[in-house]
């Protein structure tokens, strides 16, 4: 017995492997596939459902045939800075942050503290300073961008970019608080810059998306 939903899910999984297609793109293509399947069955009542589905799928095209055109429209220039920002952020947790802090070389693995984690704990407890806590919490903003950012509509991409760039500005507060020439080390600079780099990539992403509101709106039919 032909299971249309299972067949569509399989087709969708094939497209989802190609990063050129967002969830919204796949929703639209799936609607087309289902419509073409229904018309195929309507026009050829004797056709087996599986054959009708194969026909509709073939007419729609394969991922490799369509991905180039999708990529051309949306552009991929935003992916590099976002990825670089994420990598800088991840690496920064392993780099020495402060001259008085630990490094990987003298890390006691029994304590389970990376240099970045130690710095985070210091920030949280930094004389009960608002800026210290706020700066520590900006890590959550960066982590939030890991969640399906390719599927983000323009509002989310714009907001994420604005938050990351504001976070970078906030994190520069440590330059005022500490002695940058003597105290702050590579881990801090990589960490602070990662927000700006990823944020600029998300700004590029937002600019490549359709007008606000038009992409994510679901109106009652």
């Amino acid at each position: 017995m032909f299971d249309l939903d299972a067949a569509v899910a399989g087709w969708r999984a094939g497209f989802a492997r190609d990063r050129a297609f967002s969830r919204f793109d796949l929703d639209e293509l799936e609607d087309h596939l289902r419509a073409a399947y229904e018309v195929e069955l309507h026009l050829n009542p004797g056709l087996a459902p599986a054959a009708a589905f194969d026909q509709a799928r073939a007419v729609l095209g394969a991922p490799e045939e369509l991905s180039g055109e999708y990529t051309k429209v949306e552009g991929t220039g935003w992916r590099r800075p976002v990825t670089v920002g994420w990598v800088m952020f991840a690496v920064s947790w392993f780099l020495p942050v402060h001259r008085g802090g630990i490094t990987l070389a003298d890390l006691d693995w029994g304590e389970g503290l990376l240099p970045g984690v130690q710095a985070l704990l210091v920030a949280f407890d930094y004389g009960e300073s608002f800026f210290g806590v706020a700066s520590a919490l900006t890590n959550l903003l960066m982590v939030a961008t890991f969640w399906r950012i390719s599927d983000a509509g323009r509002p989310r991409a714009t907001l994420s970019a604005a938050f990351l760039i504001a976070a970078m500005a906030l994190n520069l507060w440590w330059l005022v608080e500490a002695d940058p020439a003597n105290d702050l080390l590579a881990g801090y600079y990589a960490w602070a810059a990662s927000f700006g780099v990823a944020g600029s990539g998300l700004l590029l992403r937002a600019r490549a998306l359709p007008d606000p509101g038009s992409r994510d709106l679901i109106a009652a039919g």
Binding site: F24, D25, D27, E28, L29, D31, H32, R34, A35, A36, V59, L60, G61, E65, L66, E69, Y70, K72, V73, E74, A208, L209, P210, D211, S214, R215, D216, L217, I218, A219, A220, G221
Partner: protein, 117 residues
């Protein structure tokens, strides 16, 4: 009787005609991808055959340029469908495209008419 077998169009001609074709169809009212493709086939009596999946990047580009506006709707079946309508900017672009294509068509008609093609 008019031929109904699709004739191969060059990539360049398909690309150049896609915008005025889609804008012209949407000038008649909002529509969605599958319906737009059927309209193209119907209007051209099957002589223009677009690859189904290729329409959607065109719609995305038009939306990005602000010429059309897309809206998701949930159908009675629960399925989501994206509808497109012409924006004010799209109407202006359609007028410009129409004038341009009419000029090209007029010039070619005169040329081919004169040479007996």
């Amino acid at each position: 009787m008019e031929p109904t077998t699709p004739i191969p169009l060059s990539k360049e001609l398909v690309a150049a005609s896609s915008r005025p074709m889609v804008l012209s169809i949407l000038a008649g009212g909002e529509s969605y991808g599958y319906e737009i493709l059927q309209r193209v086939r119907l209007l051209s009596a099957g002589r223009i055959e677009w690859s189904d999946g290729m329409l959607y990047p065109v719609l995305k580009r038009l939306e990005k340029e602000g010429l059309v506006v897309g809206t998701w709707r949930t159908m009675e079946s629960g399925r989501r469908r994206r509808y497109y309508r012409l924006s004010a900017k799209g109407h202006k672009q359609l007028e410009a495209d129409r004038a341009g294509w009419a000029a090209v068509h007029g010039a070619l008609s005169l040329t081919w008419g004169g040479s007996g093609v």
